[in-house]
């Protein structure tokens, strides 16, 4: 039995290795990654740029993780094709590797729009360690006073935070009518926007970069859709990622937006699995299969795929969008569906713009389907649990936004169900 994992993007691959090794201590596991690093955490790249995390602390597991788990890590080697029929993959060097069980954990690729001038020096994307490495090298060689970040989503704002931390004046350009439009409603977005503006960040919405201009091959300014000019010596594109499905295009492995998987996270081809940002798995709030590029579901999918690869059947119960991001010291959490798409939802709200706190809970048919927490995030996980376990909140929903909200306000049956073990109650 030979296990092969393509992708080193920490969460899914590491989750799979841990699950496989909990069942199978002996059969060989090989990891192929085009990145030269041991499994590291991609969300940490903004902390690396800010100088808040050292290179040493970028790694997701101990340095001897691969060794201890007897994993052959072939880092810096790129897989270029998969052949499901012969159960093999081909590397860039032409070498062929055979597998019995394959996991595709190729993650996402940044969207880099075809804007004129994007090849100028000083223009970057922001998803990998190497991106930050290049940005830091560029910053060391050039005087950077102003930067433009295209994309006001979570990655864009984390990049913004890092640049602010380094004393750079940042302008965020966002296509939607507000920042954080995918995860937050208008009230939450306005709160974060006001907070960032107070810290000197310039935010331009309903706009986009239509032209990048430079001199001496280096970026000097961007021209926006409305002809406005914004000078900058550094430009970061952070407008999102898409599932990295290049490897399986044209094969018998079914691809929709991401790689299609069943509840065992197996693709349309037996013995080939997919997990993490590349997989199109079940979203239990939306009730559909779709890629959700977030950390917890990537790790969980990795473990589920790993167990199945090792022969222990495990079902993936589904997950949902959830993001916790601290932006320049303002803690924010969004879970599930935060803006109802139509009528028929109930909203509970506790909004204090002056105090910089906002809590919102979205209900549908007496179930919590989404929530926002800004400023005050303690005990937020209890609400996440109600979404995940699909607990009817009739009878206690009036307590959900209490100042002293806690488990004690939930029905006893639920509290018992949560705790495993006889005699263990909460």
């Amino acid at each position: 039995m030979k296990y092969l994992i393509i992708g080193n993007s920490a969460a899914a691959a590491v989750g799979a290795i841990e699950a496989i090794r909990s069942q199978d201590r002996t059969n060989p596991i090989t990891v192929i990654s085009d990145e030269p690093y041991l499994a590291y955490s991609r969300p940490l790249i903004s902390y690396l740029l800010a100088g808040q995390v050292s290179q040493e602390n970028m790694f997701y597991r101990e340095k001897d993780f691969y060794e201890n788990n007897r994993v052959e890590a072939r880092l810096g080697e790129k897989a270029i094709s998969v052949d499901p029929e012969s159960k093999s993959i081909t590397l860039e060097t032409g070498e062929k590797l055979f597998f019995d069980k394959l996991l595709l954990a190729t993650g996402g690729t940044p969207i880099f729009p075809e804007v004129e001038g994007r090849d100028l020096e000083g223009v970057f994307t922001f998803t990998r360690w190497d991106d930050v490495q290049k940005i830091m090298e560029f910053m060391a060689r050039n005087r950077i006073e102003k930067a433009v970040v295209v994309g006001g989503g979570l990655i864009g704002l984390k990049a913004t935070e890092a640049l602010v931390e380094r004393g750079i004046k940042v302008t965020v350009v966002e296509l939607a009518d507000r920042i954080l439009s995918i995860t937050f409603d208008h009230k939450a977005a306005a709160m974060v926007e006001g907070y960032l503006k107070e810290r000197g960040v310039n935010i331009i919405t309903d706009n986009t970069v239509s032209l990048i201009k430079g001199d001496n091959s280096k970026v000097e300014k961007v021209i926006l859709k409305d002809q406005r000019e914004v000078p900058c010596q550094l430009l970061i594109f952070a407008i999102g990622v898409q599932p990295n499905v290049d490897l399986v295009r044209g094969t018998s492995i079914r691809v929709n937006r991401g790689i299609v998987v069943n509840k065992y996270l197996e693709t349309s081809v037996p013995d080939i699995y997919a997990a993490g940002d590349v997989a199109e798995a079940f979203d239990l709030v939306m009730g559909i299969d779709r890629p959700i590029p977030i950390w917890p579901s990537a790790y969980i999918q990795g473990t589920v795929a790993g167990y199945n690869m090792a022969g222990l059947p495990r079902e993936y119960g589904g997950w949902f969008a959830m993001n916790s991001v601290d932006i320049c010291g303002l803690p924010t959490i969004s879970v599930g569906l935060t803006v109802p798409p139509e009528d028929g939802y109930e909203i509970l709200e506790d909004h204090h713009p002056q105090k910089l706190t906002y809590r919102k809970i979205v209900l549908k048919d007496e179930l919590v389907v989404g929530a926002i927490f800004i400023g005050k995030i303690d005990r937020a996980g209890i609400i996440t649990g109600l979404i995940k376990d699909r607990v009817k909140v009739s009878g206690f929903k009036q307590h959900l936004l209490r100042e002293d909200f806690g488990l004690v306000w939930l029905p006893k049956e639920y509290r018992k169900h949560m705790v495993s073990g006889v005699g263990v109650e909460v």
Binding site: I300, M322, D378, G381, K388, L407, M418, V422
Partner: protein, 166 residues
């Protein structure tokens, strides 16, 4: 693995456990010095009062643990005994664990940008909260040991009820 169990009917909601927890997790480990420390030491268990009940809530060291699954820096890990722990030096304060814990028992020390949770007091034989509980509502025991006790107690209640009824 020894765990902390709760005998709900014994809790009086006095918060002694929280105080002892905060002191044990302070720099000085003394109550008088701890109250002047900056940042203020944080407790890692939560005595909830409300709804006519008193409920001390502790980390269950779940397996699988939602906080560990959600931790994107790798700071949260499970040690060889099965205890779910956090490494302060790896925590970046993203609060994913707080978003994920269904008991709401991961807290933060915001000034230090780190999440804090129950570590079962690695320097002590008996965790500080258990030792401090005046009514012995908190019990530090192996699961079989504790549930055995619960079963015996329940049997006693049933026997007494039967005797009274008979």
């Amino acid at each position: 693995m020894k765990e902390i169990f709760v005998r709900l009917n014994r809790c009086t909601g006095c918060h002694s456990c929280q105080l002892a927890c905060a002191v044990e997790h302070s720099a000085s480990k003394s109550l008088f010095a701890a109250i002047t420390e900056t940042p203020r030491p944080r407790y890692r268990l939560y005595v909830e009062l409300g709804n006519g009940e008193k409920v001390p809530l502790l980390c269950r060291h779940c397996d699988p643990a939602p906080c560990l699954e959600a931790c994107m820096s790798g700071a949260i890990y499970r040690d060889e005994r099965g205890v779910v722990l956090g490494r302060d030096q790896s925590c970046v304060g993203c609060w994913n664990c707080m978003m994920a814990c269904p008991y709401g028992v991961v807290g933060w020390q915001k000034e230090r940008r780190i999440a804090v949770k129950c570590d079962l007091c690695p320097d002590l034989e008996v965790p500080a909260c258990v030792k401090a509980c005046p009514t012995k509502a908190l019990v530090y025991a192996e699961a079989e040991e504790f549930t055995g006790g619960v079963r015996r107690a329940a049997a006693g209640v049933i026997a007494r009820a039967a005797a009274a009824g008979g």
